[in-house]
Amino acid sequence: MDILKVSNLYKSFDNKKVINGVSFTVQSGKIVGLLGKNGSGKTTVIKMINDLLTIDEGEVLINGEKISEKTKAIVSYLPERTYLDSSQTVSDCIKYFSDFYADFDKTKALELLKDLGLDGENSLSKMSKGMKEKIQLILVMSRRAKLYILDEPFGGVDPSTRDYIMKTILKNFGDDSAMLITTHLIADVEKILDEVLFIDNGKIILQGSAEQLREEKGLSIDGIFRREVK
C-alpha cells in the first residue's frame, strides 16, 4: 500500500527550476531515505508534501488522497529547523501537541521524556541544541501517524545524540506506518533504510532497495552516492 505517492513534481523559484519531475512512492512498513547534497531539492520536496510550498505541477497523494486537513492529520513532520518556542517548558510542548493532534500519545511522550531525565518544569531556554532536537523528535514520534517525515534529523548533532535519535526512530516506528527521512549524512543513516532515493539538481537520479544496491554495486550506499553524485 502506497502511503505516499509523489508524481511528476515541478517547482520553480524566480524562473529557476529547482524540482524537475520528481516521482516516488513510500509504502507501508518502509523507511525510505531521500538523499542529496545541500541544495539538491530535498527540503523543497518535503515542503511540497507538507503543503508548505505550492506545487507548480504534479501531484502528491497521501494514503490515496489529495492533500487536505484529513491527510495532514496522519502525517507527523519533523522540520529541518526547530519550531518550538524557547520560552516554553516541556509541559507546554506536550499540551501544544495534545491540543493539535488527535493521534498524540501523551503517555508515550512523557515516558520518553522521563528516560531523558526531563520533567514538565524544564524550560527549553536552558537546553542545548541537541536536547531540543531530542524533545522535538520525541514529540513527532509520539504521534500514532501513518506517515513520518523527518527532514535532516541528524543535522549538526553529536554522535551520542545521533545514536539516541536512531534508537528512538527504530523503537517507535510501527509496521503499519511509513517513514521518509532526508539527509546528506548518508553513512550515519543508511543502516536503517529500506529504500533509497538519490536526488540531485531537483531530479531523482537513482532509486532502489538499499540491500539490493549494496549487493549489486559492492559498495555502501554512502559509497554509491559519492560515486553517482559529483
Partner: protein
C-alpha cells in the same frame, strides 16, 4: 553494542553470519529464544525488515524455528549446528589460506609454520 558492519556487503548477510557465530559459540544455546525482531533491530541499529530477512534465511537453513506467538528459537538439532560449524570453519580456513597465498606462502609452508608455532 556498536556493530561494525562492512560497508560493501548487504547487512542482512552480515547479521546472518553474526547470529550463526553466536549459535556456534553457544551465546545462543539450543532451544534459546532469540531476541525479537525489534530488539535485534535495536541491537544492530538496522531496519527491522533487514533483521526479518536475515531471520527468514536462518529459518530456511534450519538453524532457528518459529513458535507461533512465542518468537524464534535456536534449533535443538545438534547435527544442523555441527554442519553450520564445519561450514563456518571451512570458510575461515579457505579465507586464511587465500590471504596467505596472496602473501606468497603455499599451504604446505603455512602448515609447517603453524606446527612450529605450537
Amino acid at each position: 553494542m556498536s556493530f561494525g558492519f562492512k560497508s560493501d556487503t548487504p547487512i542482512y548477510l552480515q547479521i546472518i553470519e553474526h547470529i550463526k557465530l553466536q549459535i556456534i559459540t553457544k551465546v545462543y544455546k539450543p532451544y534459546d529464544r532469540l531476541p525479537s525482531v525489534r530488539e535485534l533491530s535495536l541491537i544492530y541499529e538496522v531496519n527491522p525488515n533487514t533483521v526479518q530477512k536475515a531471520l527468514s534465511v536462518l529459518e530456511e537453513e534450519g538453524l532457528i524455528f518459529t513458535e507461533r506467538t512465542n518468537g524464534k528459537f535456536v534449533t535443538g538439532d545438534g547435527d544442523v549446528i555441527k554442519a553450520v560449524t564445519s561450514d563456518t570453519v571451512e570458510v575461515m580456513i579457505s579465507e586464511f589460506l587465500t590471504s596467505m597465498k596472496n602473501l606468497g606462502y603455499e599451504t604446505s609452508e603455512v602448515i609447517k609454520m603453524i606446527e612450529e608455532k605450537e
